[in-house]
């Protein structure tokens, strides 16, 4: 907002889902799916968002597109608070911000032909004049690796990868500035994941897109992202640019997460941090630092005091009492740089193997 280059700014976003029960659906509690998340994305850049399943990544993605209502906080898109827009204005805003879903099977209406799925909103928003409509849709489809004859087909005739291409084409056809990619490859075959990732990258360059790339596959995030956010139980626990966070993860949760990336090279050693216990319920999160139930560095303070975001320089934000200068803690979590350097190499190698085994 302050910065001209900032496209999306999220401030202290909250999204609680009410838990209803009883005859008249009384609200008996709240699932704090997103509990105070702040970040920003620059034009044409990609932010990776990682975290365990259920930590609120999808909710963040949907809420910043106003596909959910919000509970608190603000979302500025191109300087406008989207929750402050009227219905008509919001409808006009829609094409600029799109989403690609995780499950390519449920994200396509089964009763419409592909051409209609992709073109429907184009016509609705008059992205192109009516006489150019057909050509435009064809062009978009081809840009996404689809053929013109696919227009008359129905989603059930396509494989998962092709469906994801259709989803991408649908989003892209509206000429968006920003696309939320909610685990766009996690439902696909490994061999096809690379194709989709490459497609997304190519499109980003071609159309100058900004991505919020949600994934729990750290290798992919490392490959595609400019900045990375790590979420735990509805909170953004760490945020930094990619190189910084992969070479110097600060938050104990981030460390644990990154240490789980498998390294095929036996010569490289790394201390694998095993997270004990399962992720607590977001309906009833632990007090203080929500991670304290599983954190190996947990202190008394962590159980009562909610850690605040600390800027450790270079826009590296972390929410942990360990980095609080007043904490008085001597304990510094050891970083294992060697292992993280290896991650990138390993990913590239693995990727090479994939594409080789599936020749284009």
């Amino acid at each position: 907002m302050n910065d001209n280059n900032t496209m999306l700014e999220v401030k202290n976003l909250q999204k609680f889902f009410p838990i209803k029960s009883g005859f008249f659906g009384r609200v008996v509690g709240q699932v704090k799916a997103v509990d105070g998340v702040s970040f920003s994305i620059e034009r044409g850049k990609t932010m990776g968002l990682v975290g365990e399943s259920g930590c609120g990544k999808t909710t963040v993605g949907k809420t910043i597109l106003r596909l959910n209502s919000k509970t608190g906080g603000e979302v500025y898109f191109n300087g406008k608070e989207i929750f402050g827009l009227g219905n008509a204005e919001m409808l006009k805003m829609r094409p600029h911000m799109q989403i690609i879903f995780q499950d390519p099977y449920s994200s396509l209406s089964p009763r419409l032909p592909v051409g209609e799925i992709i073109g429907e909103a184009v016509r609705e928003h008059q992205i192109v004049p009516p006489n150019e409509f057909d050509d435009y849709v064809t062009r978009i489809m081809q840009a996404c690796g689809l053929q013109e004859y696919h227009k008359d087909r129905y989603p059930h005739e396509f494989s998962g990868g092709q469906r994801q291409r259709i989803c991408i084409a649908r989003a892209l056809a509206l000429n968006p500035d920003f696309v939320v990619c909610d685990e766009p490859v996690s439902a696909l075959d490994v061999s096809i994941q690379a194709q989709i990732i490459n497609l997304l990258e190519d499109l980003q360059k071609e159309f100058n897109l900004a991505y919020l790339f949600i994934s729990h596959d750290l290798s992919v995030v490392q490959h595609i992202s400019d900045t990375v956010g790590v979420m735990y139980l509805g909170n953004l626990v760490e945020f930094a640019n990619k190189d910084e966070i992969f070479s110097n993860p600060l938050h104990p949760y981030t460390k644990a997460l990154f240490s789980a990336i498998p390294i095929p090279d036996p010569t490289v050693r790394r201390n694998r941090i095993i997270l004990e216990g399962s992720i607590p319920s977001p309906a009833n999160p632990p007090s203080g630092c929500k991670f304290h139930t599983r954190c190996t560095y947990a202190m008394e303070r962590c159980k009562v005091e909610v850690p605040v975001q600390l800027d450790k320089g270079n826009g590296h934000m972390v929410a942990c009492h360990l980095y609080d200068d007043n904490s008085g803690s001597e304990k510094q979590p050891e970083t294992d740089e060697a292992s993280f350097r290896a991650i990138g190499e390993q990913y590239d190698k693995a990727n090479e193997n994939k594409t080789e085994s599936n020749p284009a």
Binding site: S107, S109, L112, Q142, N198, Y347
Partner: protein
């Protein structure tokens, strides 16, 4: 970035049409004919044998019900009749035990006079009186009495061989009569004859009263029957009967009345009187002791008939043959109860052709109202199917509206609407419709109006299921990513509902509606069976089976109710097969 380089095996991959090649599956692209989801559903449906069977059943039922009525030669409420020979009362006969009285025309002999006669006869007194009249009777033969009224002519006092006559007013006495009377008085006779008349003397001290006897009636046990209806008046005349009786008593073979000669031929228990005319004898009357009367006044029983009947009775036969007044020979049966005999003639009469067994005219026979069962099944099918469709249509409209609104808008609207659904679900269905049925019975609601009321009530009580299903489906669809995508791409609400939501609710709705159809048909049949639904004279499958509530009909006339039962079972099965088939075709994953 080096990473990008290695990631891309071919920089042009994406734009290259061949890039997609690795993703082409064996069953994809040009190899397989492109099928729209609708065609796919159809294809899957047609592959389901049970569904095809159900569809065939339903097509048959529709053709049977809606076209059958056009081809059936009969109308829905056409009553069939048959002609059958059944014994009908024709005549009654009895052996005459009572005296029959024939009264002189212009005279009156009845009531108290009759009673006094019977008393006097039983006591053996030759004279009797009733009121201020005096009567006398003479027994001329067995069970044959002549009854006369006595008229006072004169009082006589006999003094020393001379009689002093005091004639009644207006009576002139001749010398000769006075002499004859005195003669009789002197010899103490009670009666004497003078001229053609007989005179009676009654004494009271020295006072004698002379009266003249004047015939007014006769009593006999014989029965005279005329050969020709014209002869009947003569047979009721005192003169004729008296002469005929006297002749019979005296074994005379002829007698004359009014200058006509009648001959008598005795034949065992009866006699025939012939009228001689122009030297020819015509049968005129028959005499017997049996009374024969026709049952209805338009039947004339000929003497021949009566004589044959008499013989049959005498011989103790139970049937006889005789010629009727139309000149046709017929066989009659006699039924005896005590001393009376009833004669039955075989008469064809028109009867309602009830419970006729299957035949060429009535392939499934006729029912208890003499209506063609097959034809009623056709019309009944119309009603049953029509009720089903209208009710389901009604249910679908209500269900989609309420379920759709609840599911789409959610929140408090959903909560309120679903509580209304619960409310309707807790209405006890059968008690309500049974009460409604009896109320309509009491109010004598027109059978056609009844059907409409029935349909409305069934629809009002039945929409909740569809509403629930639609709501559930919409709630789950709303969460589906493709619905979220329509919102994300900024598509209008109306378009989201009608292009995306409705087509995806349709399959389930069609399945539900199909299954509901079978259900409604059963409910309608149940109600009509109980006499609370569709009512006679309108046919419905349910009220056709109602015949089976009569144990006799159930056991003896299977063809009246079994076919309706079979049709209901088949139709409901058909709807269920098709419904299940559609469900499997719409959603192959659901198949168990």
């Amino acid at each position: 970035m080096t990473e990008n380089k290695t990631f891309h095996t071919d920089p042009d991959e994406v734009k290259d049409p061949n890039a997609i090649q690795p993703e082409i599956h064996l069953d994809d692209v040009q190899r397989v004919k492109v099928l729209s989801p609708t065609m796919l559903v159809l294809k899957r449906f047609l592959r389901n044998q049970l569904a095809i069977l159900g569809l065939a059943i339903l097509i048959f039922m529709f053709a049977f019900s809606f076209l059958g009525g056009l081809f059936s030669p009969y109308r829905q409420q056409q009553v069939f009749r048959k002609y059958e020979l059944i014994p009908k009362e024709y005549a009654a006969a009895a052996i005459n035990k009572d005296l029959r009285y024939i009264v002189q025309t212009g005279e009156n002999f009845s009531g108290p006079s009759l009673a006094q006669f019977v008393l006097a006869k039983n006591k053996g007194e030759p004279v009797f009186s009733a009121g201020d009249r005096d009567y006398s009777y003479t027994e001329k033969g067995e069970d044959f009495y002549l009854i006369s009224e006595l008229k006072v002519l004169t009082d006589v006092i006999v003094l020393a061989g001379n009689g002093r006559f005091t004639p009644a007013a207006g009576v002139e006495l001749t010398e000769d009569f006075q002499t004859a009377a005195l003669e009789a008085l002197k010899s103490s006779q009670t009666a004497f004859e003078y001229g053609d008349d007989e005179y009676f003397i009654s004494r009271n001290g020295k006072m004698n009263t002379i009266s003249v006897a004047h015939e007014i009636a006769l009593a006999t046990k014989l029965v005279f029957a005329a050969y020709e209806p014209e002869a009947q008046p003569l047979l009721n005349s005192l003169d004729f009967v008296e002469q005929a009786q006297l002749a019979l008593i005296n074994d005379a073979d002829s007698f004359a009345v009014g200058g006509v000669l009648y001959r008598i031929v005795i034949d065992e228990d009866s006699a025939i009187i012939y009228r001689s005319q122009d030297d020819e004898d015509h049968p005129f009357a028959s005499v017997s002791n049996i009374i024969v009367n026709p049952i209805s006044p338009d039947i004339f029983l000929s003497v021949d008939f009566k004589r044959t009947l008499n013989e049959a009775i005498a011989e103790g036969k139970t049937t006889f043959t005789a010629v009727t007044q139309n000149g046709t020979e017929e066989t009659f049966t006699i039924n005896r109860v005590h001393e009376t005999y009833t004669v039955y003639a075989q008469r064809t009469s028109q009867l309602i052709d009830m419970y006729a067994p299957p035949s060429n005219e009535h392939l499934l026979g006729t029912d208890g109202n003499g209506m063609d069962v097959l034809t009623r099944l056709m019309y009944g099918g119309r009603i049953s199917l029509l009720v089903g469709f209208v009710v389901v249509f009604f249910e679908v409209i209500l269900g989609v509206l309420i379920g759709g609104v609840a599911g789409f808008f959610g929140g408090i609207i959903d909560t309120i609407l679903m509580r209304i659904v619960d409310l309707f679900n807790s209405i006890p269905f059968y008690p309500i419709v049974i009460i409604l049925g009896s109320v309509m019975d009491t109010l004598k609601v027109n059978p056609y109006a009844r059907i409409f009321i029935l349909m409305t009530v069934l629809g009002l009580l039945g929409w909740t299921n569809i509403a629930r299903v639609v709501r559930g489906q919409i709630l789950s669809l709303r969460e589906q990513d493709f619905m979220v995508a329509t919102e994300a791409t900024g598509i209008r609400i109306s378009r989201r509902i009608f292009r995306h939501l409705v087509p995806n609710v349709m399959p389930l709705l069609i399945v539900q509606a199909t299954l509901a159809l079978g259900n409604i048909i059963i409910i309608e049949a149940t109600l009509s069976f109980l006499g609370l639904g569709v009512k006679y004279p309108i046919a419905s499958w349910g009220n056709i089976i109602n015949a089976a509530t009569n144990l006799h009909v159930m056991t003896s006339y299977w063809y009246v109710w079994i076919p309706a039962g079979i049709l209901i079972v088949l139709t409901v099965l058909g709807f269920n097969f098709v419904g299940d088939g559609l469900r499997d075709a719409f959603d192959p994953k659901m198949k168990r």
